[in-house]
């Protein structure tokens, strides 16, 4: 009996030890994520600065991503212009953008807002963490910070033009940050930050052009010209002084281009505007980069609705196609309206490489990738016969999305310089270069008044920069809209879009603050005219 007690006691002790023993290892519940870095163990060497900057470049694609079925976020900037329409009714948010009955629930507004602020947050991360990296080559550090500031300015310029007063966030955020639930800051403060960022970027030692697609000095200067031009017009109305700043800044680029025509220039053909082989060069001063190793071109909603224009057969959605009115507003003989030679096409080759077929209507060729879709090359033989050769598509749509073309710089200069003191020879030459390429004759300089030159430049902007997400900002900045029927300009408020017969109202000068964002941040107020 005694033996039993001793045995049981010892077993009890043994198990008592097992029961309580391992509680000693307090690390058992600690967490150390093996597949993620944390802010505490990163940003220590120069490579980290480059990786952090790469994240900002990666984010620039966000505002081109999908927004529901058959639609993309960028259509926010095309559908309300009235220059385009759709061949499908699948996406009710897109329908509402066309019909000018969008509101804060329209998913495109939320995606655009989120995408832009994501770029800003990633750039803020670079600007906050990289200065602390030591040792690091100063030139490299300055360049990294310069590129980050350019990208932050790029994002803020979109945002401030879309929504007006917006939260100005300049430092990394955590749930306990003071401005985690920010209020809207005056838009002038936002413009000031943009200018400040771009001036800093201008001094960061960037090369004039960068073939890899990074921010370049030409990109910074052109963006700065764009900011000044915007500030000169609505809503800040800073007037002549800013037109001069814009003209001067654009002219810096033009001066460089004139002396380095092999570095910055207009492309000789419109084909080069949407060719994979001419990206980040000459006319393309800044582009959002695409390659199917990461992401393919996001503009295929401009391809016709289920017509077999590519190797893949019937694949497009046609949710952004030209209105007949806008297509017909090009001057007779304008090369830009010529099938497959300009910015439009009315026929193509079946499945990219087979028999040609009529599309039945004009479609946008500006973002059409011939290299990936496949094409047919016609060659005239010595005896006059034409032979055709099919060139198979690469199937990888690696086309970039243009942000700043030299054509826009020329037109910015022409417009701004005209506002400073009427049309000058340089301003006239800038406009003429654009028209010459379109094989259009330009009336003599002497035939223009300041007012007629102004409208000539605007008209050229509409026709040269169409479908590049620029037209909407012109409409807002000028409070004028091109009227395809009169070939003149209507006031923004009261203009009737040819696409939908809907009328632009005062409220449309600003987009609604996304409802979802307002709900998550009660400190935000809605823009006038939109439901809370």
């Amino acid at each position: 009996m005694k033996y039993n007690i001793v045995k049981n006691m010892s077993v009890a002790l043994l198990y008592g030890a097992i029961l309580l023993g391992p509680t000693g290892c307090k690390d058992f519940l600690d967490e150390a994520p093996p597949s993620n870095l944390t802010p505490d163990n990163f940003y220590t060497i120069p490579d980290h600065a480059e990786a952090a900057l790469a994240a900002v470049y990666a984010d620039t694609r966000l505002i081109y991503e999908g927004s529901g079925i058959f639609s993309s976020t960028w259509q926010l900037l095309e559908a309300p212009t009235g220059t385009s329409t759709t061949e499908t009714g699948q996406n009710s948010d897109l329908n509402n953008l066309y019909a000018l009955v969008y509101d804060g629930n329209t998913v495109h507004t939320y995606n655009e807002w989120s995408g832009l602020y994501k770029v800003i947050a990633s750039a803020n991360q670079v600007l906050d963490k990289v200065p602390g990296i030591t040792p690091m080559d100063e030139a490299q550090k300055t360049r990294v910070l310069g590129e980050a500031r350019f990208l932050r300015a790029w994002a803020y310029l979109y945002a401030v033009r879309l929504w007006g007063d917006i939260p100005l966030i300049t430092t990394p955020q955590s749930a306990t940050t003071e401005d985690f639930m920010p209020t809207r800051d005056p838009q002038e403060d936002v413009y000031n930050l943009i200018v400040e960022d771009l001036i800093a970027a201008e001094a960061s030692g960037l090369p004039w052009m960068d073939a890899t697609g990074r921010a370049s000095l030409a990109a910074v200067k052109s963006e700065l010209a764009r900011v000044y031009l915007t500030m000169a017009g609505y809503p800040l109305n800073k007037g002549a002084a800013y037109y001069k700043l814009a003209a001067d800044k654009a002219y810096e680029v033009i001066t460089y281009a004139n002396s380095n025509p092999g570095v910055i220039n207009l492309f000789p053909t419109y084909y080069d505007v949407h060719s994979e082989s001419t990206e980040n060069q000459l006319e393309h001063i800044f582009m959002i980069q695409y390659n199917t190793v990461v992401a393919g071109n996001p503009m295929e909603n401009m391809y016709p609705n289920f017509q077999p224009v590519t190797y893949a057969g019937p694949g497009g959605t046609g949710s952004t196609i030209p209105t007949p009115a806008f297509y017909n507003s090009y001057e007779p003989g304008d090369l830009r309206a010529k099938n497959q030679e300009g910015y439009f096409y009315t026929s193509y080759y079946t499945n990219g490489t087979e028999d040609p077929f009529e599309l039945g209507a004009p479609y946008i060729f500006k973002h059409f990738n011939i290299t990936s879709s496949g094409t047919v090359i016609k060659t005239q033989q010595a005896n006059g016969t034409i032979t055709t050769t099919s060139v198979a598509g690469t199937r990888n749509n690696n086309l970039n999305v243009p942000q700043i073309r030299y054509a826009e710089v020329l037109l910015m200069y022409a417009e701004a310089q005209n506002e400073v003191g009427g049309p000058t020879t340089e301003a006239y030459d800038a406009l003429k270069k654009i028209r010459d390429r379109a094989q259009l004759t330009t009336p003599e300089l002497g035939t223009f008044s300041q007012a007629s030159f102004r409208e000539a430049v605007w008209r050229e902007r509409w026709h040269e920069l169409a479908y590049e997400q620029i037209t909407w900002f012109d409409m807002v900045r000028l409070r004028k809209v091109y009227n395809e029927t009169t070939n003149g300009f209507d006031d923004f408020v009261g203009h009737i879009n040819k696409s939908s017969n809907a009328t632009l109202q005062e409220k449309h000068l600003l987009f609604p603050i996304p409802t979802q964002e307002k709900r998550n941040n009660p400190n935000l107020t809605q823009n006038p005219g939109y439901p809370e």
């Binding site: 077993v11 009890a12 509680t23 519940l29 600690d30 967490e31 597949s35 993620n36 870095l37 944390t38 900057l53 790469a54 994240a55 900002v56 470049y57 990666a58 984010d59 061949e87 499908t88 009714g89 699948q90 009710s92 329908n95 509402n96 009955v101 629930n105 989120s114 602020y117 994501k118 990633s122 803020n124 966030i169 990394p172 955020q173 955590s174 749930a175 073939a211 697609g213 980069q289 695409y290 390659n291 990461v294 609705n305 289920f306 077999p308 190797y311 893949a312 019937p314 077929f357 009529e358 039945g360 209507a361 199937r395 990888n396 809907a502 964002e517 709900r519 998550n520 941040n521 935000l524």
Partner: protein, 1061 residues
């Protein structure tokens, strides 16, 4: 010493031997009796023989016959006969048999001694498994439902969850794919969580399974051979689940697997063969002639819906006459050469087979079992299959008087081709043009894209044969335990469990399917290793006839490690390799890997107290620590209490001829939910950013997750009130429960202002309630003359409501697929995941032309015309916007359950198992593509009822080519009444009589045949099966009740044979 053991054995009968399952009682009884008699000495031999029968006159085989006070014994044979040599001429024989009162009979001379055993009401009483122990059903204070082996065997299924469907009230099992092994959605008492898992915790033989997040939402339980499972208990109320603390909030499913028995060795062989057919209510689509007529009309109507475009000649090229020129498809007059039924072409009726071989045996000390399984399921859809090889071994040994050890080791190897991994095949079955052949004369596949200006899709058959998604899963589950009895009242159990799950997912798509990528292939591999170690002490004591006490105290550690690696590539010169030679691909190679770890450390205790077997009280508590939570909240405590009153034990009811059992019970407690991804509380950077610079990929590192050091458990407080009633000697039994569950501190990826650069923060915020009623009734309707008829009826009603959320914002983007507008909403005051959309009033009539034209165009910039869909304009602004959307339905049933009738006549048995669901809505997203648009692909036959000037009273817009403008929205027309009654299983079986089986040396021979999913009674508006939900985009729990291109549910015809020897 002998005396001590005797007492101990009595104690153990309740405290130890009941621990695992009733079958072990038998073995332990043998064992103890043998121990009792260890010291007996043999004398001269005399012979005793006789027959043991039941009060009903049936002979009882396997009855233990023992000479009292000795270890001299035997057992009866199949005829109930025994023969025993005894040393003297007088003594006492003890007859014992499970379920019968142990009876002693004295003898005074050798010879014949027959005996009749009476059934023992107490011993027959059901024993149920509870967390960390077992209990007599009558002692249970919580809501516990249980399913026994014979019920599990009624429908041979590849997974346990499928077998559980309809067996228990409060447990909703939806099989979400008709694919063999198709995953299930299982909910115990409704939804308790928005962002975290709603899956219950599975505990197999006392070892918790990890809540894996494997491909296709599968969990470790999907990879356990259901044939190895002999009983399942589902713990529903807080009193039963609180012992599992932070993992108990969604209910707990306790699984007991087969163990060996001492005595004669047993061999069993079960086999079934089955084949599939297209299930009830197949979706009807246009045939070739109908389609072409609709297309003609659609083209003509473009003139009406886009007069300007028509005038400009925009649609000339779409003229059907120009499209129908392909000599492979049309004759010279443009008439179709084929009329293909694509559902028929994509389905098969192949033979499936399932073989299960089992061995078990043992002696007084050691028992073992060994089982082998092979399953080959050929799915209804061609090329889909599930193959499983499994093996399992268990051993139990009473190594010392005070020490018992045992273990089990199981292995499963499962291979599946998941043809419904995307919506593409099921969607194409509907949308493939009926005028296309499956293949052209040259052997190439015909596809919709061959027809000009159609949607450029590949055919369903082409996709089936061109796509592989092979998932190979191997699991090793093992457990070891030791039981130590310190005294007769105090025992300690230690269980070491492990579960290693390795999963390969290999995919490939051919060059003709992936024309852009020129063939794709990928291979990935993941491994999840889980181990747990639990120690607990159980003290069990009865103080006279008044007090009984069971106390439990334990500690637990668990750890899960996960690692995965994946790679993919494109562009192959040949389809030969599939995924077997990734190096042969030449473009866009990708690689990836990831790892995570999570751990629990817990302490738990329980006290059960019984007063005079009438008043029962239970207290439970568990302190859980989890690695997943914030620094400030690693540990939390989950208590519960329950009270039961066995009214039928009171004097005033004892011996009542009507009421044989009446128990009232109530409980309250807290449980938790911790199933969020590891590292959710930390600030994380992501290194998966990819910039493109110089046309190459440049990896980036940037912000990813906001820190929340205060992150803690989701808590569910539940109260339950239950009654158990037995009438007429339990010929009628009834069990009913009402409950109220409130979940607070919901783990939510709460949206944050996007100005921060982040989209969400993992937070505890918001609350939700579930209240419900469960009712089950079992009756023996007839039992006479070799005929019996039993009925089981159960019904569950649950009502869910969201009480509060992180912000006033509704939560969208749940459910799925969200390709048009948000389909579901989580809104305060409404059931979670309600359907959300516009209200379709009908179609604008000619008489309403002017009114329709007042609307801002919601049809691609074209004026709204008679023939366009008419929506309810809620705010009267003549524009159809999000302001006009609202809640239009809910996928949760108002009531669901089963009605099961069992008939037995002599050796025949018949089972009729009906499943029903009432008040659940179905949101049929397929109407978007198969009713709302024409000319791009085939449509449902319902478009024959589309609007025409002669047929204006309809819900379906006039047909037109899509380019001329049409509209599609998630709306009330897509919401249908999904109530149904399903003939789930009709089974006819025959047991060969013992006289015959003995002659061929078998102990059991049974044949049976069954039809599953025989019929469906449903609303006539429903297209397809109302119970099916999407996998594509539907991993989301709130997609239940949504129909989007899912694997059709087959009808299954089965023949089976069970042999025992």
């Amino acid at each position: 010493m002998k005396n001590y053991l005797l007492k101990k054995s009595k104690g153990n009968t309740i405290a130890v031997n009941f621990r695992i399952n009733p079958t072990r009682i038998i073995s332990n009884t043998f064992l103890l009796i043998a121990l009792l008699c260890a010291s007996t000495v043999a004398f001269a031999q005399n012979q005793l023989s006789g027959k043991v029968t039941s009060t009903a006159g049936e002979s009882l085989p396997g009855v233990t016959v023992l000479l009292k006070g000795t270890n001299n014994g035997t057992s009866t044979d199949v005829n109930g006969a025994y023969s025993l040599s005894v040393p003297g001429t007088s003594g006492t024989l003890v007859f014992s048999f499970i379920g019968y009162t142990t009876t002693e009979k004295t003898f005074s001379k050798p010879g014949t001694l027959n005996i009749t055993l009476e059934t023992d009401a107490k011993a027959l009483e059901e024993v149920v498994v509870i967390g960390y122990g077992t209990q007599r059903k009558s002692d249970v204070t919580g809501a516990v439902a249980s399913v026994k082996e014979e019920q599990l065997r009624e429908r041979p299924t590849p997974s346990l969850n499928q077998a559980l469907a309809g067996k228990m009230p409060g447990v909703q099992v939806n099989t979400n794919s008709g694919r063999p092994g198709g995953r299930t959605n299982i909910r115990i008492r409704g939804f308790s969580s928005i962002n975290s898992s709603n899956n219950p915790l599975y505990v197999v033989d006392g070892v918790m399974l990890p809540q894996s997040n494997q491909a296709q939402g599968s969990t470790a339980i999907d990879y356990i051979n259901p044939n190895d499972i002999v009983s399942v208990e589902v713990l529903k109320d807080a009193s039963s689940t609180a012992i599992y603390g932070a993992r108990g909030a969604n209910g707990v499913i306790l699984v007991t697997t087969r163990r060996g028995k001492s005595g004669d060795g047993q061999v069993s062989y079960n086999v079934d063969f089955s084949t599939t057919g297209i299930g009830p209510n197949r979706p009807e689509v246009l045939n070739a002639k109908e389609y072409l007529a609709v297309e003609d009309l659609a083209w003509q109507n473009m003139a009406k819906y886009d007069p300007a475009g028509w005038a400009e000649g925009k649609y000339v090229s779409l003229n059907p006459a120009l499209r129908r020129t392909d000599p492979r498809i049309f004759d010279s007059n443009g008439n179709p050469l084929y009329d293909t039924d694509w559902l028929k072409e994509t389905t098969q009726s192949k033979l499936s087979q399932n073989h299960q071989l089992g061995f078990s045996g043992g002696n007084d000390r050691t028992t073992y079992s060994l089982s082998l399984g092979y399953r080959d399921d050929q799915g209804l859809i061609k090329t889909s299959y599930l193959k499983r090889y499994s093996g399992r071994f268990t051993i139990d040994d009473q190594i010392k008087k005070w020490l018992k050890i045992g273990g089990s080791l199981g292995y499963n190897n499962q291979s599946e081709n998941l043809v419904d991994i995307t919506d593409q095949v099921a969607r194409q079955i509907i949308e493939d043009f009926p005028f296309l052949p499956v293949k052209y004369a040259d052997g190439t596949f015909a596809n919709n894209r061959d027809y000009p200006n159609a949607e450029g899709t590949m055919s369903s058959v082409h996709r089936l044969y061109g796509t592989k998604y092979i998932m190979n899963t191997q699991t090793v589950t093992g457990s070891m335990y030791s039981n130590i009895n310190f005294t007769k009242d105090l025992e300690m159990r230690t269980v070491l469990g492990t579960n290693v799950l390795t999963q390969e997912i290999n995919q490939s798509r051919t060059r003709t399917l992936e024309i852009g990528a020129q063939g794709t292939a990928s291979a990935s591999n993941s491994k999840e290793s889980f181990w747990s170690l639990e120690n607990y002490l159980t003290y069990n004591k009865r103080f006279g006839d008044i007090h009984s006490l069971t106390a439990l105290l334990g500690i637990s550690w668990q750890e899960t490690n996960y690692f995965n690696i994946s790679s993919s590539i494109q562009q192959f010169a040949t389809d030969y390799f599939g995924f077997n030679n990734l190096g042969a691909g030449s473009q866009s190679p990708t690689v990836g890997s990831g790892a995570s770890r999570s751990a629990f450390n817990s302490y738990f205790a329980r006290v059960n107290y019984g007063l005079m077997d009438k008043y029962l009280l239970t207290f439970t508590g568990r302190a859980d620590g989890s690695s997943k939570f914030g620094e400030n909240h690693k540990f939390a405590f989950f208590p519960s209490a329950a009270l039961a009153w066995r009214v039928s034990e009171e004097e005033f009811l004892k011996g009542n001829p009507l009421i044989s059992n009446l128990k009232l019970r109530t409980s309250y407690g807290l449980t938790g939910n911790s199933e969020i991804p590891a590292y959710s509380s930390l600030a994380l950077l992501s290194s998966t950013y990819a910039a493109i610079l110089g046309d190459i990929r440049v990896g980036g590192t940037g912000i990813s997750r906001l820190a929340n050091p205060d992150l803690k458990w989701e808590k569910t407080a539940q109260s339950d009130l239950g009654v158990e009633l037995g009438l007429f000697q339990n010929r009628i039994t009834l069990e009913a429960d009402v409950y109220y569950r409130k979940t607070t501190d919901m783990l939510l990826d709460a949206p944050v202002p996007r100005t921060s650069g982040y989209s969400v923060i993992r937070k505890n915020i918001g609350s939700m309630e579930n209240k419900g009623l469960e009712f089950s009734l079992n009756t023996v309707n007839v039992e006479a003359g070799g005929f019996s008829w039993n009925t089981t009826f159960n019904v569950s009603m649950n009502r869910n409501k969201v009480l509060s959320l992180a912000t006033s914002a509704d939560i969208f983007n749940v459910g799925g697929p969200n390709f048009t507008n948000p389909t579901n909403v989580i809104r305060v005051g409404e059931p979670v995941g309600s359907f959300y959309g516009l209200t379709r009033l009908g179609v604008w009539s000619e008489a309403e032309r002017d009114e329709a034209a007042k609307f801002t165009s919601y049809r691609a910039n074209k004026t709204i015309l008679p023939g366009d869909i008419k929506y309810l304009d809620v705010n009267g602004d003549y524009a159809i916007t999000d302001a006009d959307r609202g809640i239009i339905g809910n996928g949760s049933p108002k009531a669901f359950g089963a009605l099961i009738n069992n008939f037995r006549f002599k050796n025949f048995d018949l089972l009729v198992d009906l499943q029903y669901s009432y008040g659940n809505d179905v949101l049929d997203m397929t109407l978007h593509s198969s009713e709302d648009r024409q000319g791009l692909a085939n449509s449902y036959k319902t478009v024959l009822n589309a609007w025409t000037p002669e047929n204006q009273n309809t819900m379906i817009a006039e047909v037109r080519g899509t380019q001329a403008g049409y509209v599609t929205n998630v709306d009330s027309h897509w919401v249908k009444d999904g109530s149904f009654i399903r003939g789930r299983n009709i089974l006819l079986g025959y047991n060969f009589p013992a006289a015959l089986t003995e002659r061929i040396k078998l102990t059991r021979l049974r044949v049976y045949t069954s039809v599953q999913n025989l019929f469906l009674i449903h609303d006539k508006e429903i297209i397809g099966d109302p119970e099916t939900v999407p996998i594509y985009g539907g991993g989301d729990v709130f997609s239940q009740g949504m129909n989007w291109s899912s694997y059709p549910r087959p009808r299954i015809f089965l023949f089976g044979l069970q042999v025992g020897l």
